[in-house]
């Protein structure tokens, strides 16, 4: 109410009362701090990040050309099979991508195996699939024996050592439908699928550890929430002081 023009008019950018002005200034300062803390950090994360391949992707890429044109050695095929199995063991995997990699992996295992082992493998995979479809409880003893035998058999073919976590996942990714061929469509898609799951946005903020967390994760999941409570507390304390100074009636 300082000028005729502003009589009984109020806006965030032109507050016309002293409490509104003080409140606006405080709000503006805190909103800027809040915005920088929330969005500024994520922008910084985005600016600093670099697509970083996992070692498995590098191994895959080193053998892929030979696998694709059919000139891969046994060791190269083993590297190929192990790298696809690594992705098959991951926590995020879309069904379509799983099908592509199941094809690649099963084909590779059967390609590496000699005639005798191949026959044994085919039989083991087929009976294991039948058993899997039949049981309702994975503690079924027969199922466990079949799974473990298949794991040892196929694991030795692709060069996995006992104690490798992938050994227990391996039997579930061998499919009879893919034993004899690697479809052109799946072959074309394989490099893109591998890159998709084995490349991650990393930077100093993601690689630094803080209280056990990757730093960026701690900042977003823990710190920001503490910060929000702190900002609210600060606002209340400051507003109480402003209202006291300006004799604003808060009892309504």
């Amino acid at each position: 109410m300082e000028t005729k023009k502003d009589e009984y008019h109020i806006s965030f950018f032109k507050p016309t009362t002293a409490p509104a002005r003080a409140n606006r200034n405080l709000a503006l300062m805190l909103v800027i701090i809040w915005a920088v803390a929330v969005f500024g950090f994520q922008i910084l994360l985005r600016v600093l990040e670099k697509p970083t391949p996992e070692p498995t992707l590098t191994e895959f890429e080193s053998v892929w050309a030979n696998v694709e044109n059919g000139n891969a050695s046994v060791e190269e095929m083993q590297t190929f099979a192990q790298s696809t199995l690594t992705v098959l063991s991951k926590v995020f995997l879309k069904a379509d991508d799983r099908a592509v990699l199941d094809n690649a992996f099963t084909w590779a295992v059967f390609k590496i195996a000699n005639d005798e082992t191949r026959e044994e493998l085919a039989k083991a995979v087929s009976t294991f699939e039948e058993k899997s479809a039949e049981i309702t409880d994975i503690t079924n003893t027969e199922y466990i024996v079949m799974r473990d035998n298949l794991s040892v058999l196929a694991g030795s073919v692709i060069g996995l050592v006992p104690g490798d976590i992938r050994m227990s996942i391996l039997p579930l990714e061998l499919k009879t439908e893919y034993e004899n061929g690697y479809s052109d469509e799946n072959k074309t898609q394989t490099p893109a699928v591998m890159t998709k799951y084995l490349t991650h946005n990393q930077s100093v903020l993601t690689d630094t550890k803080f209280l056990g967390f990757p730093f960026h994760y701690f900042y977003t999941a823990v710190f920001l929430l503490i910060f929000f409570v702190g900002l609210c507390w600060l606002y209340c304390v400051r507003t109480d002081a402003i209202h006291k100074r300006l004799s604003v009636n808060d009892n309504m």
Binding site: P19, R46, T206, T220, L225
Partner: protein
């Protein structure tokens, strides 16, 4: 006599413990223990409601205005913590890793905006509902009606996720099909709301908060202790779990630690879980930012959240209750990621199968071999969270229908008996609509609830923000803003439903990405604000009495 009672209680407890222990499986069977816990908790809420019953309508809406700041903060937290917080948030992080944290940040950061820009002023304005404020500030019965309709739409959208959560937990407890679980769950929550609708809501909310938070946190201490992490403060201790997921846990390091299915506590290196906007999760930087922004302004625009500020005695208490409310909310939000991280390792083996993400909190506790009674308490906490929110939302929606729409716009002279009947009819109709939508299973609970936030963000938030902070915002401007916001919302939701129903609309991919249903407010809210400002500038100014009221009552 005393001895007989004690013996009977002991006998009952032993049978109860035995039944509960025998009954827990990941899915499939009726679980006696969890069922008893669930029923007991619901009965407790009704009992507390009867004891602290509201005497009249004003007492119901304003809860006596005699509640402490801490108590009010607990009520804010309980009102806020729904199935989306309890079940949905862990599901989002379990399913999309770092991307899910956008929901954690969005649903908490919004309270800062709400406090700094609106809480005290809303309390000073002195209306009971969002529609009340809109009708009064914009001196329009039509806008009052629009405000009421928007409040009903938001309540319905918000409830869909809650009903889905109730359905999932009933499915888990009763061991029945999801469709039947939603039908039974809807019937129970409707009966609960009709019985307890006018009963001591605020006191109940405080008790609900305590039950929700205890049931959510106890399993975390046990899980972290069992799997050899720093368990004293699980919200910090799980940092090592996240790092272990990133770098992998070899079999050799699992040292005999196994899940309830016998799989080792081991995982191959999976940086995609924690790295920002990882390609494998299918989410992008833009989506992360858009979700955070939409949820934040949605938080500051949700009618049932704003309404909480009317129930505190003074404007100062309204402000401080936000601080306490946010702190209590954060206790749950700091904890939810722990379930997703531990659950990720415990369910890493493909033999665990595809788990319903929305029930991952309960599955994690089961896979971690936690005592079935504690798992039952956890499931009951999930249902309590959904019930507390649903009953509040159904009552808010029904009062928007009966009080704001029917009495104040359609039939001003209707009798109190008629008003009560309309409120009950409104509650039943809303519950049926919500139950039907929940059966469609269109998205995760958290995502369904996020639609309500975006809807609030493009409609209510601009009306409150400009209504409080710019006296130049007038009736025509408000109408233009609502139209702009609703157009964006309708476009987004139409494309979303069409895609889910297999209908191909033009530019579907473009709209699905840029106007996603859980973040369309990123563009909708600025457009609504812009439309409001432009039209307000071009039309007749706000009446003097409103401007005078804003200056003398709200900003002085």
């Amino acid at each position: 006599m005393k001895k007989i009672i004690i013996s009977a209680i002991l006998l009952f407890s032993m049978k109860f413990l035995h039944a509960a222990t025998a009954a827990t499986q990941l899915e499939g069977s009726f679980k006696v223990g969890p069922a008893i816990i669930l029923i007991s908790i619901l009965l407790l809420f009704i009992l507390v409601g009867i004891i602290f019953r509201a005497k009249d309508t004003t007492d119901f809406y304003a809860a006596g205005r005699g509640i402490s700041r801490v108590g009010s903060g607990m009520a804010i937290a309980s009102n806020w913590m729904s199935a989306a917080s309890f079940l949905g948030m862990a599901a989002l992080m379990y399913g999309s890793g770092y991307h899910g944290l956008a929901f954690v940040v969005g649903w908490t950061g919004g309270y800062v905006l709400l406090l700094i820009l609106m809480a005290g002023q809303i309390r000073k304005y002195g209306k009971y509902t969002a529609a009340d404020f809109i009708g009064d500030r914009y001196y329009s019965k039509s806008l009052l009606a629009v405000g009421a309709i928007i409040a009903i739409l938001i309540s319905i959208t918000y409830c869909v996720g809650q009903f889905a959560g109730i359905g999932l937990m009933f499915k888990w407890v009763l061991g029945i099909d999801y469709v039947w679980a939603v039908v039974i769950g809807s019937a129970v929550v409707l009966a609960y709301t009709l019985i307890s609708g006018m009963l001591g809501v605020t006191k109940n909310m405080q008790i609900q908060y305590v039950i929700i938070i205890i049931s959510f946190i106890i399993p975390l201490f046990i899980l972290l202790y069992k799997f050899d992490y720093f368990w004293v403060l699980p919200q910090i201790g799980y940092g090592s779990v996240v790092s272990d997921i990133v770098s992998g846990v070899p079999l050799a390091d699992s040292q005999g630690l196994v899940n309830s299915m016998g799989h080792a506590f081991a995982i191959v290196p999976s940086p995609e879980y924690a790295m920002p906007w990882d390609i494998s999760t299918g989410s992008t930087f833009f989506q992360w930012i858009a979700i955070v922004f939409s949820l934040m302004i949605g938080t500051a625009g949700l009618p049932h959240v704003i309404q909480r500020f009317y129930v505190v005695p003074k404007a100062r208490d309204a402000r401080w209750s936000v601080v306490w409310g946010l702190f209590f909310i954060c206790i749950l939000y700091w904890s939810a990621p722990v379930y997703s991280a531990i659950g990720k390792i415990l369910s890493a083996h493909p033999e665990v199968g595809m788990l319903n993400k929305d029930a991952i909190v309960v599955y994690t506790a089961q896979l971690g071999n936690i005592h079935p009674l504690i798992v039952g308490l956890l499931a009951a906490g999930g249902v309590s969270a959904a019930f507390s929110t649903v009953s509040g939302l159904l009552v808010a929606g029904a009062s928007a229908f009966s009080n704001d729409l029917y009495v104040r716009v359609l039939r001003p002279n209707s009798s109190p008996k008629r008003q009560l009947l309309m409120a009950r009819v409104g509650t039943v109709v809303m519950a049926i609509i919500v139950g039907f939508l929940a059966l469609q299973n269109w998205a995760l609970i958290g995502q369904l609830v996020a639609v309500a936030f975006s809807l609030a963000g493009v409609t209510i938030f601009p009306l409150f923000l400009l209504g409080i902070w710019w006296s130049g915002s007038n009736r025509a401007g408000a109408a233009a803003g609502v139209i702009a916001g609703m157009l964006v919302a309708l476009t987004s939701i139409t494309y979303f439903v069409a895609a889910k129903e297999g209908v191909a609309l033009p530019y579907a991919d473009f709209f699905a990405y840029w106007l996603g249903p859980w973040y369309f407010a990123w563009i909708g809210a600025p457009l609504a604000i812009l439309a409001n400002i432009i039209v307000s500038k071009l039309t007749k100014p706000t009446p003097l009495e409103i401007r005078k009221f804003l200056i003398e009552q709200v900003h002085s």
